[in-house]
Subunit: 218 residues, 2 copies
């Protein structure tokens, strides 16, 4: 497979634009666990031939928070933040498997994107995907704590009631925790699909207290 | 001021593109507190003539989490998520002041953006800004809990030491909380600028325990 077979919107570029991109780009191999890009330096765009990469930021506790994962044929543009003034944040990009990729230097890409509506629109779609992922991550982080709080509440109720079968509605749990019934219902369904609880009308049965406790301690 | 004076990259559009946009767009006034867009419906792009708007999502507790604010001459494109397949999330957009704006219907905008490299590139810059803001928000949310934990730790230490002047280094606090010294130092500086503590070599003086307690309870 050649560069042109992997490059998106290739058939919508002019001959000169294609030339500019393929002349500038070069291939690279990276073993699993290689940091391809760190912080805000301008590595270039990464077009994945095979393998897998991920972008992450560090939490204050030093945990790695994955923001997105990319696979074959995906383009990573956050490693080329210098192509856009508005991209102002640091991210670490690392291979999660042995990876083959093409590196498209930022200057060549920017030159073509400035004049090519198809490429600029394609970039918009990628940016939209990254933005949607970031928004989803925000929700997950916000919901995460509710997830723990519900687990802790269920365990507490189980001690109080001296039973693993709790006769309690989602509405009541929501009122206890100062949230909405919909939130409790959504999270309880996740719990159920993970085998933590079994739900039936007006009853929550705790199936795996150990896992619920582990969730609280995460 | 006319539409063309507010519209970005106007002078880089063709006559036909300008016509398409100005024919389709219309002006609207909205009082402070008006919801301009809710969820994932496709209201159109909003170009602000005057006033202020913000985009927010709801936390599981029903708190409003502001993702971005926009001012005069800014364009809000998350109210037109249908123009891009990749934009997949719900956001509420509300005026924070009496606001005058132009609404650009999604079809007209998409048609012009598809063929105009300058407009598509401009959109990329806006998307980059929104993405940077979302990433910054993730950091803030992650850091927020550390902020509480440090406040709680300082209050606890103060009880243990029976003093408001704690002889403790940032390194030690970091070790207690499983984080890095840099994180503690950064947050302690915020605390100091908010009048919660006074920092000097090897000492942290608690100036406002009430505020520190409030921070823990937030």
């Amino acid at each position: 497979m050649e560069f042109r077979d992997h490059f998106p919107v290739w058939d919508k570029l002019t001959a000169a634009e294609r030339q500019r991109l393929s002349d500038a780009s070069f291939s690279r191999s990276a073993e699993k666990g290689t940091v391809l890009h760190d912080g805000s330096d301008c590595t270039g765009l990464l077009l994945i031939r095979s393998g897998r990469i991920r972008g992450y930021i560090l939490s204050p506790e030093g945990r790695e928070i994955t923001i997105y994962r990319l696979f074959e044929r995906d383009i990573c543009m956050l490693s080329a933040s210098c192509i856009m003034n508005s991209l102002q944040f640091d991210i670490t990009i690392e291979t999660e498997a042995d990876t083959e990729l093409w590196v498209i230097p930022p200057d060549a890409f920017r030159d073509v994107m400035q004049q090519s509506a198809p490429l600029a629109n394609y970039m918009n779609e990628i940016m939209g995907t990254r933005l949607s992922e970031a928004m989803w991550r925000i929700e997950q982080i916000l919901w995460k704590s509710m997830d723990k709080r519900i687990a802790a509440f269920l365990l507490e109720e189980s001690v109080i009631e001296e039973s693993t079968a709790l006769h309690i509605t989602h509405e009541t749990i929501a009122n206890h925790l100062g949230t909405h019934r919909e939130v409790v219902t959504r999270l309880m369904r996740y719990f159920q699909s993970d085998g933590l609880v079994r739900l039936s009308r007006g009853t929550v049965e705790l199936l795996d207290k150990k896992k619920l406790r582990a969730l609280c301690d995460e």
